[in-house]
């Protein structure tokens, strides 16, 4: 069954119930995954999640309901449910309207991969085994603790009572391996390495395993360093957590309008080092967050947020855009059919610099390189603190030794201003950011 069918049914039936506006979002996601535990294939799962969510509006009153059963009876029940919720809900005076129909751009290239869609459970198992072998083959001191390889094939349809009708599909491969190295009585810190791609031919489970193992071995023989404030080279994932997550929260128009962002009213001001340029690009070829339309059926686009350190734009859905009488930037996002849309980045792309990782290390007089961060980041205030895992001490441009029991702390917004250099090698992170490693100054390095 095409998903446009149940979505269309929900629109028609809700209209019959007398609502002012209605929007339906139907989704079907097939996931095949293999779980590795304690260095062994633990489990294989094939699951199909299907469902539909409906948002109805009556005199500025909003109701939302969902169901995992796509039968006519179940959809009608869901619509009556949403309608009765809207009836008891207090009105939201800021509500203007659901988005109007608009011409959609072409589907971004490389978001659906037939090879990935055709994969069977057994093919996913082969990927997992390759990842496993990649780690095992590197060094016999490496012990794999956990891993998971997932292949996802999803479809979604959005429709609303103003004529929006959008349908799309996509594929995703995701895999991670967690391992540690054990040498005599020493156990290294645990490494976590992963990758996410749209297409099978871009996905290398061997690399995930190899890198996880390399990092585990490299963090053996760790020493503590006395606390200091210095330069920190943040690897992809760490840069994404510490710098880009607060950046994304701060350009989220909902946070801006609600006074939750320190960047409210700062459009045109210098908020980061001039080295930093970042944009949200919902149309990037092969982007893990790319689609021709967002979760409200609004056309996706590229929105500049930071250009040479200057704050140049915010990310909107139709609700925040209507409040300011402007157009949505196509950043409505849903975690699933069972929740209403909120604002999120699609692909937050950091413009790459010219220096490779080794060149960045060579720039550091006294500092650390951090490859995994286990901690907390306050996206509003920008305060962060946590354990620097797979971290090494750098002195006079050279990596000296790996660190143990070391924490880092600081403020993300100050760190954005203290960016010294941006690397040249980029990759996607779990936060849907595409970022190279980033070198920042004045980070607190704290040890026992």
């Amino acid at each position: 069954m095409r998903l446009a069918e149940p979505a269309g049914l929900a629109i028609k039936y809700s209209e019959k119930l007398g609502v002012d506006e209605v929007e339906a979002f139907a989704q079907s996601v097939r996931t095949s995954e293999v779980v590795i535990e304690r260095g062994e294939i633990q489990n294989e799962r094939v699951k199909t999640q299907r469902g539909i969510g409906v948002r109805v509006i009556k005199k500025k009153r909003l109701g939302f309901a969902f169901t995992s059963v796509l039968s006519k009876e179940s959809i009608e029940q869901m619509c009556r449910n949403a309608d009765s919720l809207a009836s008891v809900s207090p009105p939201n005076p800021d509500w203007v309207s659901l988005p109007a129909a608009a011409k959609l751009p072409k589907t971004p290239l490389g978001t659906f991969d037939a090879d990935t869609a055709d994969m069977k459970a057994d093919d996913v198992l082969k990927l997992a085994l390759k990842g496993y072998e990649g780690a095992k083959a590197l060094d016999k001191r490496v012990a794999i603790d956990e891993g998971k390889f997932s292949v996802v094939c999803g479809e979604a349809a959005v429709a609303n009572s103003h004529g929006v009708e959008a349908e799309g599909r996509g594929t995703l491969l995701y895999g991670y391996i967690i391992c540690a190295a054990k040498d005599k009585s020493e156990v290294s810190s645990m490494t976590f390495e992963y990758d996410i791609t749209r297409c099978l031919k871009d996905f290398s489970p061997e690399r995930i395993g190899r890198v996880a193992a390399e990092r585990a071995v490299a963090s053996l023989g760790s020493k503590a360093v006395a606390s200091f404030t210095g330069t920190a080279l943040l690897d992809y994932d760490v840069a994404s957590d510490i710098l880009l997550q607060p950046l994304a929260a701060s350009v989220n128009a909902d946070n801006i309008q609600r006074g939750r962002s320190l960047w409210a009213g700062k459009l045109g001001e210098e908020v980061a080092s001039e080295k930093l340029t970042a944009a949200d690009d919902g149309l990037m070829p092969k982007g893990i967050g790319s689609s021709s339309f967002d979760a409200e059926g609004v056309p996706s686009q590229k929105t500049r947020v930071i250009t040479d350190g200057e704050l140049v734009g915010f990310l909107h859905n139709s609700f925040t855009a209507n409040k300011e009488k402007r157009h949505s930037t196509g950043n409505a996002f849903r975690e699933g059919y069972n929740v209403p849309p909120r604002i999120s980045v699609s692909n937050l792309v950091v413009k790459v610099g010219k220096k490779r990782l080794d060149d960045l290390i060579a720039m550091v007089d006294k500092g650390i390189i951090v490859k995994r961060f286990s901690g907390n980041v306050h996206p509003d205030s920008g305060e962060f603190s946590g354990i620097a895992k797979q971290a090494s001490y750098i002195e006079k441009g050279e990596v000296k030794y790996s660190l143990k029991e070391t924490m880092i702390s600081g403020n993300s917004f100050q760190a954005l201003k203290n960016i010294i250099e941006i690397g040249s090698e980029t990759r996607p992170t779990m936060f849907q950011a595409y970022t190279p490693p980033i070198l920042v100054d004045k980070i607190n390095v704290v040890s026992k």
């Binding site: 779980v35 535990e37 304690r38 260095g39 062994e40 294939i41 489990n43 294989e44 799962r45 094939v46 699951k47 999640q49 299907r50 909003l62 109701g63 939302f64 309901a65 969902f66 995992s68 059963v69 919720l85 008891v88 809900s89 207090p90 939201n92 005076p93 800021d94 198992l125 085994l129 012990a143 603790d145 998971k148 540690a180 156990v187 810190s189 645990m190 606390s227 404030t229 609600r258 006074g259 939750r260 069972n338 929740v339 209403p340 286990s374 901690g375 907390n376 509003d380 205030s381 305060e383 603190s385 946590g386 354990i387 029991e405 924490m407 702390s409 600081g410 607190n444 704290v446 026992k448």
Partner: protein
């Protein structure tokens, strides 16, 4: 009936087969800055089967609970078990569990299924209003109320037939304060397993006040310093220590992996003040169920008793491997997942000190309040976030600072725990270990030494 359908499907099947039906009804209200986001209600249902054939598990699920689909799902589970067998080194055997035929229901006084939704909406709006009124510096807040109503059915080829209904009520409040160029946020939770009376026992407004007062206080102050300090953890965050530092390392699957507790059963791993329990029946606890998702009855498992390691947390599989009785810790998030070893309600038993006495014993350190996200590695290195750090000098409480992430090695932290308070709080939590699940985390306030990842 679903039960008959599932029982018919597993009759005469090969090896061991279990099926779980799970229907999850949810209702939530969220109010942002006085305006309602959307009232949300819905239902997800499905069934899964797990088979054990010649030592190899196979698992499959479906959302269509009809004969044809259930039969196909079972066939898929068999073929996955067969296909992956050659690639698995370990042959699974299950510890014996008496197949139960039983019904269990969370004690519900005010049934959410019959709730006046308007009344719930009003409660959220009122909470929101009070937060706004509490301080000028509060610029934004979000109040969310949720009810999760689970209907579970477990049947197995061994003859088990267990029906459970588990109802959870929760509220989350975040408050944001701004003053000048500074911003600070705070979050607090209330809730328990039970009906809507949960919001009478632990009112949403209490969470609202805690979050609002904290945000308004923290917006004016600096961040705590970094370094190793003597600390007192308030009862509301001791559960995070119990869960992150110890609990994960006592899960028998991470014991296989070589957790720091692996060879410690019967040995001293903590100061004698520490008794750490994982309890599947704690009244109102977010992880309370009479049976786990393998049909094993739950109970109270002492992980550490007066400083000595006593037990790991087991599934039927790991219990057989370690030759012990299964503890009922195999849990699944929903029908799309096979059960894995999870904590239920993990807590450190209260001691005999008052909070004042705990603080008196600290020369220079902090009282840490309010929890944030945490993580643990099986080598015993753990971290979790704190929201507020109240300075202690010469046994006296001083000014509040912004909390930071703290870390430590479980072994050292447990050995350094020299006093546990007589107070006790059980908190609700979400734990994400491969798949997520609801857990309870609790304890009495305690005193130990930790590394604060603060400013220099």
């Amino acid at each position: 009936m679903i039960k008959d359908l599932l029982e018919r499907s597993i009759r005469n099947s090969r090896g061991y087969v279990e099926m779980r039906y799970h229907k999850r009804d949810t209702f939530s209200v969220s109010v942002k800055d006085g305006e309602i986001d959307a009232l949300n209600s819905g239902s997800v249902a499905g069934v899964c089967s797990r088979v054990l054939l010649e030592g190899s598990f196979g698992f499959s699920s479906t959302t269509v609970v009809e004969k044809e689909n259930v039969d196909r799902m079972l066939k898929d589970a068999y073929s996955l078990a067969r296909a992956s067998r050659a690639k698995k080194k370990r042959r699974v055997r299950l510890a014996n569990v008496e197949p139960a035929r039983d019904e269990f229901e969370t004690l519900v006084k005010v049934d959410p299924r019959k709730a006046d939704r308007l009344e719930l909406v009003r409660m959220v709006i009122d909470t929101n209003r009070e937060i706004r009124a509490s301080s000028k510096s509060i610029v934004s807040d979000t109040v969310r109320l949720g009810v999760v109503d689970d209907e579970l059915l477990f049947v197995s080829s061994e003859g088990a037939e267990i029906g459970q209904r588990i109802v959870r009520c929760l509220g989350v409040v975040t408050a944001i304060a701004r003053e000048g160029g500074n911003i600070a946020s705070a979050v607090d939770y209330v809730g328990e397993e039970g009906g809507l009376e949960a919001f009478k026992k632990t009112p949403l407004i209490e969470a609202g006040k805690t979050a609002a007062e904290r945000a308004a206080k923290l917006v004016k102050v600096e961040t705590a310093p970094g370094g190793t300090y003597s600390v007192v953890l308030e009862d509301k965050i001791v559960g995070l220590l119990a869960h992150e530092a110890v609990g994960h390392c006592s899960e028998a699957d991470s014991v296989y992996g070589g957790s720091f507790l692996a060879d410690k059963i019967g040995k001293r791993v903590a100061s004698e003040k520490v008794t750490l329990v994982d309890d599947g029946r704690f009244p109102g606890g977010f992880g309370t169920m009479k049976y786990d998702d393998e049909g094993t009855p739950t109970g109270k498992t002492a992980v550490i008793e007066k400083g000595v390691a006593r037990s790991f947390l087991h599934s039927r599989e790991t219990a057989e491997h370690f030759k012990v009785v299964p503890t009922g810790n195999a849990r699944a998030w929903d029908f799309e997942f096979d059960p894995i070893i999870r904590m239920r309600n993990t807590y450190i038993e209260p001691g005999r000190y008052t909070l004042e006495e705990l603080v008196e014993g600290v020369k220079e350190g902090f009282l840490l309040k309010g929890g944030l996200a945490g993580q643990a590695d099986f080598n015993g290195e753990f971290m979790f976030g704190t929201q507020e750090a109240v300075r202690i000098r010469n046994g006296r409480l001083g000014e509040s600072l912004r909390g930071v992430t703290i870390s430590g090695n479980a072994f050292e932290v447990l050995k350094n725990t020299d006093a546990v308070g007589r107070d006790f709080a059980m908190q609700i939590g979400m734990c994400g270990k491969e798949q997520q699940n609801y857990v309870g985390m609790g304890g009495g306030s305690l005193r130990t030494k930790l590394l604060l990842g603060g400013m220099r």
